[in-house]
């Protein structure tokens, strides 16, 4: 692997991860656009509820199904904005034995909580959507923008979210009687539940019990699907792209992500560092010297600007080299700080070009 282009042209799934505020959504969209420019059929899944991406792509509204973005590229470009709730509803409908079971689950309040507010649900549904789009065979490349989180594992754990919930001892206790075994266990569960009800309210416990009971028979389907998804994420059809900015705190976060990915056996295909400041060769010590010398005001003022600029920027490259020493075979792409945010396809194309530009990716 030599450049970001190989990733754009060679992989089937690209997952953009990293903390918030580093340009992750824009990087994901630009990656899909670059693939369309290279003749591929690409879809980007965003989780950013801001209208910015829809505006930049020149489409009225993004929703939970891929919207084709028209443009002069030889390939095909589409975008969708993840709707966690309706994606989860689809998952339930697909896995339920019949309509009755599906409706029972969808109407349950405990389910509604899980499908809207449970932490990790958004990650889970992003992964589900990814798998759904991948399985449809309609796209050469599926690019996913992950929810901003400090916990890289949230996304990697996501496929197992429901499977794990259904593995919960409480679930097993609750479903025991209807399987005709362990009736005694059930009475222990009832005692525990009665105590819980005094604290959280009886209706909460009742809904939870009804939820778990309504899932009976669906566990295996969820588990099998989770395993297939994890396989897809782990092999070389998929590349993880870590998006960061050169600030020391976001690079610390980036390092944390890399460690997590590494310990989960996943490889990072590329590290994209956005918001790079222009590089100056004059050292801060030297410009400080000029600043203190007897020069005309414009010289002194410019020297001060230079000192302040390099004082902030000088550590950036060192920290990035340090970060990259931790990852094997990952491409580094540095994207300069741009004067404004991306507002249209031209702006997005500019980023797409910077991503594919080998000279920007090669680090000396």
């Amino acid at each position: 692997m030599t450049g970001y282009n190989d990733l754009i042209e060679g992989r089937e799934v690209v997952v953009c991860c990293g903390t918030g505020g580093v340009g992750k959504t824009t990087t994901a969209a630009a990656t899909a656009l670059a693939a369309a420019n290279a003749g591929r059929s690409a879809v980007v899944v965003t989780i950013d509820p801001a209208r910015r991406l829809a505006d930049a792509l020149g489409i009225d509204e993004l929703d939970n199904t891929p919207r084709i973005v028209e443009g002069p590229w030889p390939g095909r470009l589409a975008a969708l904005m993840l709707d966690t709730k309706s994606t989860f509803d689809d998952v339930v409908r697909r896995n339920a034995a019949d309509d009755d079971q599906a409706e029972r689950i969808l109407a349950n309040r405990f389910y509604r909580n899980i499908s809207t507010t449970l932490s990790g649900t958004q990650d889970y549904m992003a992964v589900e959507k990814l798998k759904e789009l991948y399985d449809s065979s309609e796209w050469d490349l599926v690019v996913v923008d992950t929810p901003p989180t400090r916990d890289a594992l949230a996304f990697l754990d996501a496929p197992l979210l429901l499977a794990r919930l259904l593995d919960n001892p409480i679930y097993r206790m609750l479903t025991a009687p209807s399987r005709g075994v362990f009736k005694a266990v059930n009475s222990a569960a009832q005692t525990m539940l009665r105590r819980l009800a005094r604290v959280v309210g009886a209706e909460v416990v009742d809904e939870a019990v009804a939820f778990f009971q309504s899932f009976e028979g669906m566990e295996e389907g969820f588990r099998a699907r989770a395993m297939a998804t994890l396989d897809l994420l782990a092999d070389d059809r998929t590349a993880f792209v870590l998006v960061a900015s050169p600030r020391s705190d976001t690079l610390d976060e980036a390092r944390y992500f890399l460690d997590k990915l590494d310990s989960s056996g996943l490889s990072v295909g590329a590290v994209v560092v956005n918001r790079m400041m222009p590089t100056m060769s004059t050292a801060p010590a030297r410009s400080r010297q000029i600043q203190g010398g007897r020069h005309r005001k414009p010289i002194a003022a410019a020297a001060q600007a230079l000192t302040e600029h390099t004082s902030v920027a000088e550590g950036d490259d060192d920290r990035i080299i340090e970060l990259m020493s931790d990852v094997e075979n990952a491409i580094l792409v540095k994207v300069p700080l741009l004067p404004s945010d991306v507002h249209d396809i031209d702006g997005l194309n500019q980023i797409a070009e910077l991503l594919g530009d080998d000279s920007g990716g090669v680090f000396v």
Binding site: A50, R52, T116, L118, A302, E308, T310
Partner: protein, 315 residues
């Protein structure tokens, strides 16, 4: 406005903002500025991995409250994570012997799933308990990062919707009372003068006030580039003495032009913010160091205090 009265106007200040805008530095700065007015301050970090204490020259703090020294004199610091708050709360509510076992067996996971927001609510509940017990004159909360801040503040309303009876219901009612009383609690939002962060600041402001019903204090705008007097890349020429090389002149011109461009962009965003959000702004300067330490927080506290002094009296 007198900084003393400013910091006396609410007992809890919740500092919130998206990742990358310097929220934790702002929280540390508020704590130092308030301590300078003679108040005892409790700085609470709820995001799990603590980073405010190191900015004040101390080790990262745990669940126990620790008094800081030096820059942090007058400030005590602690971390408060949702899981710890949940276990502590269960211990206090008749599950003392089984709280740890419940955590292990996965029962807690089910409780937390059944009642979305319960963990955030319990963190707020703990803050309320500390506020009621007057643990300090002022409690400064470094709110959860990224998009979680709104979820955190909405948690009592969410729990009220789910749990209509029981102990947890009462807890939610009490947390709501804390959040909706400006004399007890206000939210200070943090941003930087760039397009997307300013957009998000404006959206969050309206959500916090209208949906959640919490009063907002002034917004903190971080990383303002100070103006450099006489900066003009057009006028930078190589001096006759030849003491400066051509490449140094090129760098100076480039740095000057870049600085002017960034400053102009910042000014435009600050004007837009003022036009779209009727809240006073406290502006903190960009400091030209790779890491913020106690010296920088002291410097930012100076700026914050003068920013507060120039606020109108009624804000």
């Amino acid at each position: 406005m007198d900084p003393g009265s400013f910091f006396a106007s609410s007992r809890v200040l919740i500092v919130a903002g998206k990742g990358g805008v310097g929220k934790t530095a702002a929280a540390a700065t508020i704590a130092v500025a308030a301590a300078r007015t003679g108040r005892s301050v409790l700085l609470i970090e709820v995001s799990g991995r603590t980073s405010a204490a190191p900015m004040l020259g101390a080790e990262p703090q745990g669940y126990e409250q620790t008094d800081l020294v030096g820059t942090g004199a007058g400030i005590s610091c602690r971390s408060l994570t949702p899981d710890q708050a949940l276990v502590e709360w269960l211990s206090d509510h008749g599950f003392k012997r089984v709280a740890k076992r419940m955590a292990k067996s996965g029962v807690l996971e089910v409780v937390a799933t059944a009642t979305p927001g319960i963990k955030d609510l319990l963190v707020l509940g703990k803050i309320k308990q500390l506020e009621t017990a007057r643990a300090a004159d002022l409690i400064v909360v470094d709110a959860p990062a990224a998009g979680h801040a709104l979820g955190f503040l909405r948690s009592p309303a969410g729990v009220l919707d789910t749990a209509r009876t029981g102990t947890i219901h009462r807890q939610a009612v009490e947390a709501m009372a804390l959040l909706s009383d400006p004399e007890r609690c206000r939210v200070m939002l943090v941003s930087i003068p760039e397009e997307t962060p300013i957009n998000e600041l404006i959206e969050t402001s309206f959500a916090v006030e209208d949906e959640v019903g919490i009063s907002l204090g002034p917004v903190i705008v971080n990383a303002i580039l100070p103006e450099i007097d006489g900066l003009d890349p057009e006028k930078v020429r190589r001096p006759h003495s030849r003491s400066i090389t051509d490449s140094e002149v090129r760098d100076m011109c480039a740095a000057a032009a870049f600085r002017l461009e960034r400053s102009a962009l910042q000014k435009a965003q600050l004007l837009r913010l003022a036009a779209q959000l009727p809240l006073p702004q406290i502006r903190l300067p960009q400091l030209f160091v790779p890491h913020l330490g106690p010296d920088q927080i002291e410097q930012l506290a100076d700026s914050m205090l003068s920013g507060i002094e120039s606020l109108e009296g009624d804000s």
